[in-house]
């Protein structure tokens, strides 16, 4: 009997001696955000982990919008320290951050990226204009009378006889992605401006209510759109706001295929389907230059130089954002940012341009380095 009793007691005492499994302090940087910045961020994280005594950051790819949403959720060890973004933070997101106590945000510009409209190398290279893209992918487009109708185009040569007679099939990212935002703004918005009625509409100020409404009537946009804006925002829209709701809406009838956050997957799908086009960051085009080719847009081919010069019409800056409140609290945040902004990584011969990032100019780089060092707060 004594044997069993002693055994149980020994077991109990043994249990109590077990070290705690309680929540440990988080000691590695947590990063979320854009899938376009993901390949750059992981490369930096890997080098950072290997070359310093800090732990390598953990990186989840959630899309720019999804990342900023998580980032702005609040301050604390359970929220990410850094979010990558393939577009600048929007005012609405900045306000969201502010109201959740994320008051100090540091913006780091890391370089530029073009949005490539690419297809498989097995198909001929496409030369296309922004207007063609708008007519192919917008949800509603003007018909011959200038009235907006649901997009009727089924194949590319419906839009422009010079284009091939293949079905319109474009794979692109979902709304959580910054690439999608930038594409809607630069390509669809850019293309829509080449249609006079829409361009006029976008020029009106909020005080020109009458003009906006009559332009809307001409285009066949229901007045309810105007009312809905007033209701949700509590102020009168500018012509540009109405223009955005019309021009930035992407087709939902299967011509635009939401292929998920994963740009690699889009590349693989393009390789398998030579008739399809894909929308993704230039770095993926650069990485997969043996499988896919970028289309010529408004006469400019996407390349390192055309994007850096600003000739290529669909290019955008890439950023990441740091939560100031976490700097110094979670080890390694500022050091990681310094590594990112170092000449070793970001200068023309650095390892990031080797991965397809279009580098900043010397002056911009110096400015970014100074900002990271001083943890300059972003004001909007």
């Amino acid at each position: 009997m004594i044997k069993q009793l002693l055994g149980a007691m020994a077991l109990a005492v043994g249990f109590s001696g077990v070290a705690n499994v309680q929540a440990q302090g988080r000691d590695s940087v947590s990063i979320v955000g854009s899938s376009t910045v993901y390949p750059f961020a992981t490369v930096v994280a890997e080098r950072f982990g290997r070359s310093t005594s800090f732990k390598a950051p953990k990186i989840e790819s959630t899309g720019s919008g999804g990342g900023l949403k998580l980032f702005c959720k609040g301050v604390g060890a359970g929220t990410p320290d850094i979010t990558n973004s393939s577009r600048r933070i929007k005012k609405s997101e900045y306000d969201d951050c502010q109201s959740n106590g994320v008051t100090d945000v540091i913006e780091v510009l890391i370089g530029y990226d073009g949005i490539a409209i690419a297809n498989s190398r097995r198909a001929p290279q496409l030369a296309i204009s922004l207007k063609d893209l708008y007519l192919a992918l917008a949800k509603d487009i003007p018909d011959a009378d200038g009235q907006l109708i649901p997009n009727p185009h089924q194949s590319w040569n419906d839009i422009n006889p010079a284009l091939p007679a293949t079905k319109i099939e474009v794979m692109g990212p979902p709304p959580t992605s910054g690439t999608r935002d930038a594409f809607a703004e630069l390509a669809l918005g850019g293309g829509a401006k080449s249609i006079p009625a829409l361009k006029t509409l976008s020029g009106f100020d909020s005080s020109q209510e009458q003009e906006i409404k009559s332009a809307m009537e001409q285009l066949g946009i229901p007045v309810s759109v105007y009312q809905a804006y007033v209701e949700s925002k509590g102020k009168k829209p500018k012509g540009k706001d109405i223009f955005k709701t019309v021009a930035y809406s992407v087709r939902e009838d299967g011509a635009y295929i939401e292929a998920g956050e994963n740009d690699n997957l889009i590349v693989q799908k393009l390789e398998a389907n030579p008739n399809a086009l894909g929308i993704f960051g230039f770095s993926f085009l650069d990485e997969n230059g043996d499988k896919v080719q970028g289309s010529v847009i408004d006469g400019v081919e996407p390349s390192f130089d055309t994007i850096a010069d600003g000739d290529y019409p669909v290019s955008r800056p890439l950023y990441f954002y740091i939560k100031s409140a976490h700097v110094g609290r979670i080890p390694g945040i500022q050091e990681y940012a310094m590594e990112f902004a170092s000449a070793k990584a970001m200068s023309e011969d650095g390892y990031l341009p080797e991965k397809g990032l279009i580098p900043l100019s010397k002056e911009e780089l110096a400015q970014v380095q100074a900002d990271v060092k001083s943890l300059k707060r972003l004001e909007m």
């Binding site: 044997k3 069993q4 499994v21 440990q24 999804g66 979902p174 709304p175 295929i257 398998a272 979670i330």
Partner: protein
């Protein structure tokens, strides 16, 4: 205990020991678990309580960060240079508290064990029915272990149902179940123009069924014919070797099938289709379904094998004795007898196909197209659950809640298939038992 010898005891001596051990061990174990659950919070509030007032004035989140940092320092992962004097003091305080807690835990758990043991020892007397006592406690332990299954089901139903109800507050059930359009990627900010956010479930259901149908089209004939051949024709030796080899297919992880489907089968089918002049999507339902079918072959095979073997030999012999060939015996005698069981088995296989995730995540599409053409890309319920939830942890938009609504549907569909199948199989078994 002296005097009467062992014979005067109600139970064997060691049962008194077991009893004492249970009395000592169980309460101590529960105390230990409770301690584990509460210690972290307690230490945090103690440490935070001793911090200077200006730090305590910070928001809870910031205090959490502050605390996280000093814990990191105390555990040796944060460098000293990052901390100020207050934090180092607090970190030392933390370390002391942890050490104290450790000692307290050791002492408390230990003394509770000793106390329990002593109480039990005091109660020990020759008349005590120690064995029954021990056995009752054990029965309760055993019962609670098997009750975990019920708790799991309850947990699944509640967690999925709870979020699904929140979803149905935004999207009506009829819109969900009868809607013909699925584009859940709605705008995530006020000033963004996203998809309209329609949550029609029909395209997903059709896609899921299409892929499952292709899978069954492969798995049922091959699995069933293999089972018939192995149980009725093949020699014992051949069967002994063949069956385990084919069952390897069932043990291959689904992620491997997914890789195989996405990188080998899908491009192959596409090229094959192209050469025949067909347009095949790069993520055709055919590729995912075919590979899923391969995965399910052994499942169908062993279920049908069990059922065919269960048909009494007397029926076989009677038919063969009448001069029927084996083929006729199988088709006219065995099959009708085994049919309900085989149907049940196929239903189980369908439920597996519907719930399969990795193959379709890697090899099927994301766009919800309402089509029954296996050469086109479709999406499935499980693919959408994964796409909606991976990466996004927000629980306030219909987008993420929709995943739970889908989970609920998936759970009930597979559950009812399973219940029907088991019912059919059991009913059939009774005929011959």
């Amino acid at each position: 205990m002296a005097g009467g010898g062992l014979g005067s005891l109600n139970s064997l001596p060691k049962h008194y020991g077991y009893m004492a051990a249970l009395w000592a061990g169980l309460p101590a174990f529960f105390l230990f678990l409770a301690w584990l659950a509460l210690e972290g919070h307690y230490i945090q509030s103690m440490v935070v309580g001793s911090l200077p007032a200006e730090i305590q004035a910070m928001s809870d989140d910031e205090i959490g960060l502050y605390y996280n940092q000093l814990v990191g320092y105390a555990q040796g992962s944060v460098d000293r240079s990052m901390l100020n004097e207050d934090q180092i003091a607090a970190a030392n305080n933390y370390q002391q508290l942890v050490a104290k807690g450790q000692a307290m835990k050791f002492l408390l758990v230990g003394s509770l064990a000793v106390l329990g043991g002593m109480l039990a020892t005091i109660r020990v007397s020759p008349e005590l029915r120690a064995r029954n006592h021990v056995e009752n406690i054990f029965k309760w332990i055993l019962f609670s272990c098997s009750f975990i299954a019920v708790l799991t089901t309850l947990g699944i139903v509640l967690s999925v149902l709870f979020e699904a109800i929140r979803f149905f507050q935004v999207i009506t059930i009829s819109d969900f179940l009868l809607g013909l359009q699925w584009s859940p990627q709605m705008a995530i900010r006020a000033d963004q123009v996203g998809a309209s956010g329609s949550f029609g479930f029909v395209p997903l259901l059709v896609g899921t069924l299409l892929i499952s149908f292709v899978a069954m089209f492969i798995a049922v004939p091959i699995g069933l014919m293999s089972a018939i051949y192995l149980s009725e024709y093949a020699s014992r030796r051949f069967r002994a070797i063949t069956k385990p080899v084919l069952e390897i297919l069932a043990g291959v992880p689904t992620v491997v099938y997914g890789f195989f489907a996405a990188l080998t089968v899908a491009p192959f089918i596409r090229d094959l289709g192209e050469s025949l002049g067909l347009t095949v999507a790069s993520e055709s339902a055919l590729a995912a379904g075919l590979v899923m079918g391969i995965m399910i072959i052994p499942f169908v095979m062993s279920l049908s094998d069990d059922i065919i073997s269960a048909v009494p030999d007397s029926m076989r012999e009677a038919s063969l004795g009448m001069g029927a060939t084996m083929n006729e015996t199988i088709r006219k005698v065995l099959m009708p007898a085994a049919l309900p069981g085989i149907v049940g088995g196929i239903l189980l296989a369908v439920s597996r196909a519907i719930g399969e995730t990795m193959i379709v995540v890697m090899a099927a599409g994301l766009s919800a197209k309402l089509t029954v053409n296996p050469l086109e890309a479709v999406t499935t319920i499980t693919v959408q659950i994964v796409t909606l939830l991976v990466g996004d942890q927000e629980f306030d938009s219909p987008k993420t809640l929709a995943a739970f609504a889908l989970g609920l549907v998936l759970f009930f569909v597979t559950l009812s298939l399973n219940v029907i199948a088991l019912y059919v199989v059991r009913k059939y078994r009774e005929q011959y038992d």
